[in-house]
Symmetry: C2
Subunit: 553 residues, 2 copies
């Protein structure tokens, strides 16, 4: 078969996933184009790169177990959106009427794996195996629930279906001069529902960069019922229902839509007092002030304080002059407090100099394009690295195709106090393990994907080039597992989290079990039972980490 056909044979030409690889990151065309580039940077021969092409769907199909669920046996309105052809089954191994589907699956004990973009790197969307005690497994692909349903421009919120992908969402927002400003590395191939279910982190290293900080309300369909949280900017009423679903990884129910907080596309201690008047009408004056405060709160600027008070309330305060009382009697008062530096850039450059940093380039104020994503850096060193960053998923997939190369990444977060010991221990564990497992010295590098006042989120990349002979897939997987096990142990030993933004899935279950307490394990079990009596929702994820309630119960 022609190389051309073999590459084309890894995808399908129809449906929402046309052109995507059944096994690799993103589009087959991009993947193939990357091989030459990698061969060069790895210093490998680039002859016959097409020999690295993996099996086609047709070739794999022959080894696929037959579907355990007969489509013909399903009720019409469920069958109408179900598929079981080889590409779809392969693609989803790694809709609408959601409630009806969950009913059928609960009754027949069919496992349900909610599926967004399938970009999970932790086994978050893999099916159950035949011996897991289920009568089958459905990948509930939300790709067709991909619409913006409603705009609330005054409140700067947008109602989005869970299956919508990042680029489509930003395209729709850009037309109104808005942005969600959420850019995970998987931006192009992950969905709104997947972001929330995995409690994802965007690539902005500071500020509100976690998706759960950008969610205003959620609609969740579970086997035991459907819930829609109230649309309020904040609430002191009980534990947060929103935060319960963020990170639940499809084990409680299916997130079908969400109201997301968006913002217009692209701080010294001081204070000011502003008075609003409306021809002696205190109510109207307050409404003028309310419009003003809304404008201020929506500029994206963050004054330390912004308090609007009805004039008559202020008049009751002691220490006011007669003149002030008369001014305020039918007015509204806005108290504004300021904090922080006027020149963020200048202040940070001074810190950089103090710490011995060398300023090699800088870009001053520029207009933000209304046509492209405002997702990050542009030219020079920053631009070069930035472009590579957004292709990281492709890099991983393409690198696996070189039998003599081993590439892996993992990430965590820890306090500043524990960072240095953790970091040094990770470097040491990685180098020792790579040498031991692979017989050659590998390279381990680190970056901070996020930084917080109380700690960083270090992200580690491991590259081993020139594996002895060609070890074969099984032993390469064993090498990877042993290296990962040693490094994760170093992270857990030094107080890091099992994952900062990759989620738990199946890959991090052992570390997650050790990370969260036994009491929270039984709490997760209780929440699971309240949502999913039959235990069909993504049963291999988080679930196996759920513990039986303490003996006291």
């Amino acid at each position: 078969m022609e190389a051309e056909d073999r590459w084309r044979g890894q995808t399908t030409t129809s449906g929402p996933h046309a052109g995507k690889s059944w096994w690799a990151w993103g589009r087959v065309s991009e993947l193939r184009g990357l091989l030459q580039e990698l061969a060069t940077s790895f210093g490998l021969s680039s002859a016959n790169l097409d020999q690295l092409c993996p099996p086609t769907v047709l070739e794999i199909g022959e080894q696929l177990p037959k579907p355990r669920i007969q489509l013909a046996s399903l009720p019409d309105k469920v069958r109408s959106f179900c598929k079981d052809d080889d590409f779809e089954r392969l693609f989803h191994s790694r809709g609408r009427d959601v409630a009806a589907l969950l009913d059928v699956c609960s009754q027949r004990r069919i496992a349900v794996v909610p599926f967004g973009g399938g970009s999970s790197v932790v086994g978050g969307v893999e099916p159950v195996s035949a011996d897991d005690g289920f009568s089958g497994c459905v990948a509930l692909d939300l790709a067709k629930m991909d619409q913006v349903l409603e705009f609330d421009e005054m409140s700067q919120c947008v109602r989005v279906q869970a299956g919508m992908y990042g680029p489509a969402l930003e395209d729709s927002l850009r037309q109104r001069g808005l942005t969600l400003r959420y850019y995970p590395q998987s931006f192009e191939f992950s969905t709104v529902g997947g972001w929330i279910a995995t409690k994802g982190g965007g690539h902005f290293a500071t500020g509100p960069t976690h998706i759960d900080d950008l969610v205003q309300s959620l609609r969740v369909v579970s086997p035991n019922g459907t819930t829609e949280t109230r649309r309020v900017p904040a609430s002191g009423a009980g534990p947060s229902e929103l935060r319960l679903y963020a990170g639940s990884e499809g084990t409680l129910g299916v997130i079908t839509e969400s109201w997301l907080k968006v913002r217009p596309r692209p701080q010294t201690r001081a204070s000011a007092t502003v008075v609003f008047q409306a021809k002696g009408d205190a109510d109207a004056a307050f409404e003028l002030g309310a419009h003003c405060v809304r404008d201020m709160a929506q500029t994206g600027l963050q004054p330390a304080n912004l308090r609007l008070v009805a004039g008559p309330e202020v008049v009751r305060s002691a220490g006011l002059s007669q003149q002030e009382r008369e001014l305020l009697a039918a007015a509204a008062v806005l108290l504004i407090g300021f904090e922080g530096s006027i020149y963020v850039r200048t202040r940070l450059q001074a810190v950089a100099e103090k710490r011995g940093g060398l300023l090699v380039s800088q870009k001053l104020a520029e207009e933000v394009s209304q046509k492209q994503d405002n997702s990050g850096e542009r030219s020079g060193i920053a631009g070069s690295w930035g472009k590579g960053f957004m292709r990281g998923g492709y890099l991983m997939s393409a690198a696996c195709l070189f039998p003599s190369v081993l590439v892996n990444t993992l990430e965590t977060a820890c306090t500043w106090a524990s960072f240095l010991p953790l970091h040094r221990s990770v470097l040491n564990a990685a180098r020792t393990a790579m040498k031991r497992e692979c017989g050659v010295q590998g390279q381990v590098t680190c970056r901070f994907t996020h930084v917080y006042p109380d700690g960083p989120a270090p992200y580690y990349t491991f590259v081993v080039i020139g594996l002895a002979a060609t070890p074969g897939e099984d032993s390469r997987v064993r090498m990877w597992q042993n290296i990962k096990r040693d490094v994760m142990q170093a992270i857990m030993d030094h107080g890091g989290t099992s994952t900062h933004h990759h989620a738990v899935g199946q890959l991090h279950l052992p570390q997650y079990r050790a990370e969260r307490g036994a009491l929270f394990g039984s709490t997760l079990a209780a929440m699971k039972a309240a949502h999913d009596s039959a235990g069909i929702m993504n049963p291999r994820v988080l679930g196996p980490s759920i513990e039986a309630p303490p003996s006291k119960l």
Copy 2:
């Protein structure tokens, strides 16, 4: 009895609550001093104000039901910190070895009400009544667990016991040039544990002002076990255990300590790239960069991006010149992105002018005092109002003493889109109800305690002066209940939350039931059972709103 003695008779001279009123906000001395001021501002006669003095503890004591728990019957180590004298019982009607106490109470079916500062305005710490099916009720007062246990200055975190009050915590932080920057109106009379259990909001109207945004980790003792969450700045591992306890109002367990995130006492699109070098040692260069990023992240400034990358990783990027590659090979690279306005103050003043605001006073950059709280505004109109704000609790307590006066406040949060309809409906409902219930026209005023990009948190104050004759306590309470009921209905009808920062307690249970979904009701019940099999934890709060699991279960 002398007026002096009657006032003194409302408190006790010993123990952690010496000087505090058994029934009113804060200290008796402050309360008495406020009466003259109020009589003036209400335009009432100030003759014989001491006649307003409520019954002493001694007088009330005669009507108190006898304790249902005999201290002598308790195990020594529990009895050692238990009290049942009249003042303590009255004070707590509105320690250490926590686990041991919860064991005893679970076995004997004694209700437990965790008690911080007792500043709840929603019935959050009231005891169960004799007919609630419990064999008694313990107020678990954490006032003696009031220490800072540990500082992690590098990570800017502090480990605090749950019973510590706001001023003591800030005094301790100020000595190290730090602040939590959390100032609820109850600051002086509320505790760390209470803040977290009620998911409190501080008085800064914008930015990270909710306590759950300032908590890094928690220690919780429940009847079914103890849990301590991991100390990490962020995590993608499962639903947030922290957020589960924030807002649980003592129904799941007792928060005994917390790691809190503190900060040093007191944006235009641009970017800069900084390189760190260490004599060809890439690891050392990265550590230099890490120190620098930590300094930057801890300045309190918020650049849009702050990403540190190991040079060797950047070198793998395409499009770099040979010179750049050589520079980066053994270096670390810091990519900094900036957004927002350079002059917050100037920009906001322009918005104010555009909206017709009149600038009546302003204060430019000033040094922040290292001796006092940096809790807000100072002189002029702002200062006058600000001082009154922090005395709001006293105002409410003192106002109730005037038989011809009715004062009430309530708060909510809603989207900007729903604010005007909600606000107008609340004003109308309040005026109608005050006139109907009290026979005279009352005054209703509003302020925004918090503002968010997607909506405000309006706070309403109702004042009725000159009630027909003196209605007597019972009918005054009925007036208040009827006014509150009508106004809360208007809020719920227009999509507001039942409470933005006062918590649910008992007062807001009817509205909270309507606000949260049935599925979350059964989820709360499941979480409760996982923590508190015997159902003894603060059983009248949130609990009664918990629904039986859906029939499907």
